[in-house]
Each structure stands twice: as structure tokens, then as C-alpha cells.
């Protein structure tokens, strides 16, 4: 019992002193630290990871190319399945498709670049008109009148086997530059 010392305070209980005491304290701290690290890292990843995941934006078939008449904009339904954690839901959006003389198609986001209202096509005046604050765009999407700060936003689109595929995106309204949300 040479390395033990009689501690006076607890009714004469032994307690290791010196390097032995330091060693036990040190091992205890290392064990606690390892367990702590083994938990903190996975648990942090566990909580953070879904928060940082970007929503996948898939190509969606919005209809046949033949459905879009040359020269006239056509509103097409864009239906996607949205994965919200473990829930699945359908999201329905409408996009504007304009067939170009060369057969390609330009697809506009359905939201006015001013404050995000839905605009419509005026077939007689051949202009897109936003009912909220009177922004007007031509068939190319360029601003003709009103407070809209930039042309209509283009959505990525492609044609495969005669079908029109579109990726839906949202953009920040009210800015000169195009900022994807």
C-alpha cells in the first residue's frame, strides 16, 4: 500500500496519489472524449444532412411538340412528384412554351419577373400581360411596359422523340439579374 495515502476527509478511505492518480484521471478523460467524439460527429451529420440536401429538379415531360402551335405561346402543365422527406406529393405548375421558327421551343417560367404574379397571353395584342402591376412582355419575353426589371425567365428545355421536356425552376422576383432560388 505504498502508493496509497490515507485521505483524512472520508473516514479513512485510501486514494491513489501521484502519477497513478494522474494516469487514472487521464484514461478516464480519454475514454469520455472518445465516446463523446463517437457520438457528436454522427449525430451532427444526422441532424444537418437533410437540411443541406438540394431538391432534385428532374426533366419533366410536359407534352408533345406537336401540341405547341408555331407562333402562338401555349400553356403546358408541368407535373412533378415532390419528395418531402418521407412524404411524396404532386406539384402542378404551368409553363409557357413558344415554338421558334427553327423548330426549337423556348419555355418561360410562369411567374412575372416583377413580383412573381402569374401572367397570361393576350392573343389579340400578341403580348404577355401581368394583371398585378401591368407589366407587359412580347413573345420573346422582352419587357415592353410596366415595372418588370428583366425579361421573362427561361426554363431549361429539350426535345426528345418529339416530346418536350422541361426542368422547373424558380427565380427571385424584382431583381435585374437572374437569381435562381
Amino acid at each position: 500500500m505504498s502508493e496509497h495515502q490515507r485521505g483524512g476527509e472520508e473516514g479513512g478511505a485510501h486514494t491513489p496519489v501521484g502519477t497513478r492518480r494522474t494516469f487514472f484521471g487521464w484514461v478516464t478523460k480519454v475514454a469520455a472524449g472518445l465516446i463523446g467524439l463517437g457520438l457528436v460527429i454522427p449525430l451532427a451529420g444526422y441532424v444537418i444532412s437533410p437540411a443541406l440536401k438540394r431538391r432534385a429538379r428532374p426533366w419533366v415531360d410536359v407534352g408533345s411538340l406537336a401540341d405547341v402551335p408555331p407562333g402562338d405561346p401555349k400553356q403546358l402543365d408541368h407535373v412533378t412528384t415532390i419528395q418531402d422527406g418521407y412524404l411524396k406529393s404532386q406539384s402542378q405548375k404551368a409553363v409557357w412554351a413558344v415554338k421558334q421558327p427553327d423548330g426549337q421551343v423556348r419555355v418561360f417560367s410562369p411567374m412575372c419577373t416583377h413580383l412573381g404574379c402569374g401572367y397570361r397571353w393576350d392573343g389579340e395584342e400578341r403580348q404577355f400581360k401581368c394583371p398585378c402591376h401591368g407589366s407587359v412582355f412580347d413573345i420573346e419575353g422582352k419587357v415592353v411596359a410596366g415595372p418588370a426589371p428583366r425579361p421573362l425567365d427561361l426554363l431549361p428545355s429539350k426535345i426528345e422523340n418529339g416530346r418536350l421536356l422541361v426542368v422547373f425552376k424558380e427565380f427571385k422576383p424584382g431583381t435585374r439579374e437572374v437569381v435562381e432560388l
Binding site: H4, G7, E9, E10, G11, G12, A13, H14, T15, P16, R21, F24, G25, V27, T28, A31, A32, L34, I35, G38, L39, P42, L43, G45, Y46, V47, I48, S49, P50, G85, Y86, L87
Partner: protein
């Protein structure tokens, strides 16, 4: 250290520190005393992992299964956290078993420590209640049918059984109300109860002190302070326990079975291993004797454990001088472990399915084979029916060649070539060969 001094000068922490760390351990620190701390550590681990599982879990029948699948497959470290909780539960049962065994062998339940033992038995029962309620939460087939059986057993208790079963189930059938009340009990009621009783268990420990060695000579060596040597032993054991559970969580996946289907009565659930001995016992008792096994015997065992300090009135703690008590304990352990052994043997005697077959089956659906080929009524009718293809074409080489290039062995076939890797080729072939009239 500075912060500690700052706090100490205001809160007078030194006496608290002394009370916590200088607790005298009769006969000195020992590796045999670590099981209580290990159990407490495992409880804390269960509490922490449980809280994190609750971040994504949804306790309703239409979302519970999907939310756990989401944790398993989509959340970073999700399978690890769920694995820790799953294996932690098993480890907790082991730790409690060893802790009780140590207390029993050392006669630590004898006066003045009867209350500590009794609170301990209640803690053990609460942990079993945790296991039972937690098992239902994933809402898969195993969960659903195991709980169904557990509830039916409660129903066999005379007079009050039917009523009790309905209250536990929350209604006529096992469903949404059952799941939400099991969830509430598992994550709110039981933890509150358990924390309270752990506090009582530790309070009694500090009031009466640890039992220490059973012989007076060893005890007369004098006592040693709890810190640093016993704390060091406890910490090392906790680290080892954590390493084992983490390894199991990482290496042994614990997949869900199919989503709970109340209409599929063909599913045979197997309980967790710590309930297996009891599951085996129930197989031997039928007819009018059944209630004996479903509730009379368990109740007697629980009451016997609870009041053990008053049944065994021999004041001697040395196990050598307590043959009757030790024999009783040994008989109990032999019965439990024999039943567990028989049950495990029976379970593993069931012909195991080659994992390649299950993988091949998954590939069959993944590559859309089912679109053209029919197996037992399911699938398209464009290609040949494959229900018994293992009888028709038992040659492995033929299948391997055929999947690589269908036209090479079956001229004129319009089956497309699929981009299969070599392991996939083998798995799909194993699945084809398993499709026989007699397995």
C-alpha cells in the same frame, strides 16, 4: 480550471465534488462493480439516440414505416444512429442481467439493501416495457405481429385480461391508436418513470453505501475512494461497450421487414432474443394450461424476484455458505438459458435462404424482367412464364450464357441484353434456379 474556480467561489462546489467522488468503496475498487455504471451509460446512450431518432420519426401507421426507411436510407449516419439504439437495447438487457447476477452472487440484496434490490427489479421491468413498446414503432411486419402476440397474451389473464388488452391497444384492433400510445409510453411516460427510479436507486446506494466484498477479511482492507480508480474502471468499460455497439451498428445491418400488413396472417414473427426463452416456453404449454405459462409463471417469477430479499432470510453474504439461494438462482438461469438455446437452435435449423437468391429476386424487379415474364401469376405474358424455370432449365451455365446474350443459346429470342455485372449475373441465375416446384 479557471471557470471551475469562478463557479466554485460562487456555488461552493468543493463539498459537492467531494460527496460525488470520494464515496468510499469497501474493500477497494474492482472490475466486478462496473455493471451498474455500464447499465446507466447504456440508458443515457438510449436516451440520446432515441431523442435523435424522434427528429425524423412519425408515429402514425401511414408514415411510421416510411419515416424509419427515410432514416435508414436518406439520412447521413441514420442507419448508424438507429443501429446504436437497436444494439444498445440488447446491450442494456445484457448489462442489467450481469448487474443483477453480481448483486445476487454478492448477496447485495440483503439488509440493509432490500429496497435497492426492489427498486432495481422494478427498473428491470420498466426496461422490458421499453423493449415491448419500442418494438412496435417501426411498424413493419415483425413489429406488428410480435406486438399482436404480446397483447393477446395479456388477454389471457383471467377477469381483467380482456379489459387490460383493450386499454393497452387503445381499441378493438391494433392500429393508429395503439401506435401513438406505444410511442407516448416509450418516449415520455417510461423515461420519466425510469429517471425517477434511477434517482431513487442511486439515492439508496449513497445512503446505505455499496455492499463491497462478502468476506470480512477483504472488507477490513479498508475502503478506497470512488475517484479515481473505480471511475477509471467504469470509464474503460463504457468505452469498450460503446466500441462494441458502434461496431455492431456499423457492421450488422438491421433492415426493416415489409410494411405492417394486418391482412397477412401468414407472417410468423420472431421476438427479440431476450424474449426468446419465453417464446420457447409458450410452445410447450397448450390448452387449459396455457394461462399458466402466459401469466401465472411470469407473475410468480416477478414477485419472487421482487420480494427475494424477504424470501432468502439467511444473513450470510458469502455465496459458498448460501447453497439454497445459489441453487435457486442456478436453476432459474439453467432453465432460461436452455430455453433460449433450444429456441435459437430451432430458429437456425430453418433452411436458410441463399442471400444471392434474394438479391437476384431484387434484380428481377429492378431490371423490369417482371414486365415480360410471369412468376406465380405476377408479371407480363410477353416472355415465357418463369414460375418453374429451375425445373425446366437446371443448367447454371445455360442461364449465364443466356443473360449475357439471349440469342446465343435461344436463337430468334427477342429478349434484350441487360448490362449485368458478373455478381449480378450469378445472383439472377441463382434466383432462376431457385424457382422450382419443390424447393
Amino acid at each position: 480550471m479557471r471557470i471551475y474556480q469562478w463557479l466554485d467561489s460562487r456555488l461552493n462546489l468543493k463539498p459537492v465534488e467531494r460527496t460525488l467522488l470520494d464515496e468510499p468503496i469497501p474493500g477497494g475498487a474492482s472490475w466486478i462493480y462496473v455493471f451498474g455504471s455500464a447499465t446507466l451509460f447504456l440508458f443515457l446512450l438510449q436516451a440520446v439516440t432515441g431523442m435523435f431518432l424522434a427528429v425524423y420519426y412519425a408515429p402514425t401507421p401511414d408514415h411510421a414505416y416510411d419515416s424509419i426507411q427515410f432514416i435508414e436510407e436518406q439520412v447521413t449516419f441514420g442507419a448508424f444512429v438507429r443501429g446504436l439504439h437497436h444494439w444498445g437495447a440488447s446491450a442494456m438487457v445484457v448489462a442489467i442481467g450481469l448487474h443483477m447476477l453480481q448483486a445476487f452472487l454478492y448477496g447485495a440484496y440483503k439488509p440493509p439493501r432490500e429496497m435497492m434490490w426492489m427498486v432495481g427489479v422494478v427498473l428491470f421491468l420498466i426496461v422490458m416495457a421499453f423493449a415491448f413498446t419500442g418494438y412496435l414503432l417501426p411498424w413493419d411486419q415483425t413489429a406488428y405481429w410480435a406486438t399482436q402476440i404480446g397483447l393477446n397474451m395479456v388477454g389471457t389473464v383471467p377477469v381483467v385480461g380482456e379489459f387490460l388488452m383493450r386499454v393497452m391497444r387503445g381499441g378493438e384492433v391494433l392500429g393508429a391508436l395503439t401506435l401513438s400510445r406505444f410511442f407516448a409510453v416509450h418516449v415520455l411516460f417510461l423515461p420519466a418513470l425510469l429517471i425517477g427510479l434511477i434517482a431513487a436507486h442511486l439515492f439508496i446506494l449513497r445512503r446505505v453505501g455499496p455492499a463491497g466484498p462478502w468476506t470480512d477479511e477483504r472488507a477490513s482492507l479498508g475502503s478506497e475512494t470512488f475517484y479515481p480508480r473505480q471511475v477509471y474502471m467504469d470509464a474503460v468499460v463504457m468505452l469498450v461497450v460503446f466500441a462494441v455497439i458502434s461496431s455492431l451498428a456499423l457492421l450488422v445491418p438491421f433492415p426493416l421487414t415489409d410494411k405492417a400488413d394486418p391482412s397477412d396472417t401468414s407472417f410468423v414473427p420472431v421476438p427479440e432474443w431476450y424474449f426468446l426463452f419465453y417464446y420457447e416456453l409458450l410452445k410447450y404449454v397448450h390448452g387449459p394450461l396455457e394461462p399458466l405459462a402466459t401469466w401465472v409463471l411470469p407473475m410468480l417469477v416477478v414477485l419472487g424476484m421482487l420480494f427475494w430479499p424477504f424470501i432468502d432470510r439467511n444473513p450470510v453474504r458469502n455465496p459458498i455458505k448460501r447453497p439454497a439461494a445459489l441453487a435457486a438462482g442456478a436453476v432459474f438461469l439453467v432453465v432460461v438459458f436452455s430455453l433460449l438455446g433450444i429456441s435459437l437452435k430451432n430458429l437456425y435449423a430453418v433452411p436458410r435462404v441463399d442471400p444471392a437468391i434474394a438479391k437476384g429476386r431484387a434484380l428481377f424487379y429492378q431490371f423490369g424482367c417482371v414486365g415480360c415474364h410471369r412468376i406465380h401469376g405476377e408479371g407480363g405474358a410477353i416472355g415465357p412464364d418463369l414460375s418453374f424455370v429451375g425445373d425446366k432449365r437446371p443448367d447454371r451455365e445455360w442461364h449465364l450464357k443466356h443473360f449475357k446474350d439471349p440469342q446465343s443459346v435461344s436463337p430468334g429470342s427477342f429478349m434484350p441484353k441487360f448490362p449485368l455485372t458478373d455478381p449480378q449475373l450469378n445472383e439472377l441465375t441463382s434466383y432462376m434456379l431457385s424457382l422450382k416446384k419443390t424447393p
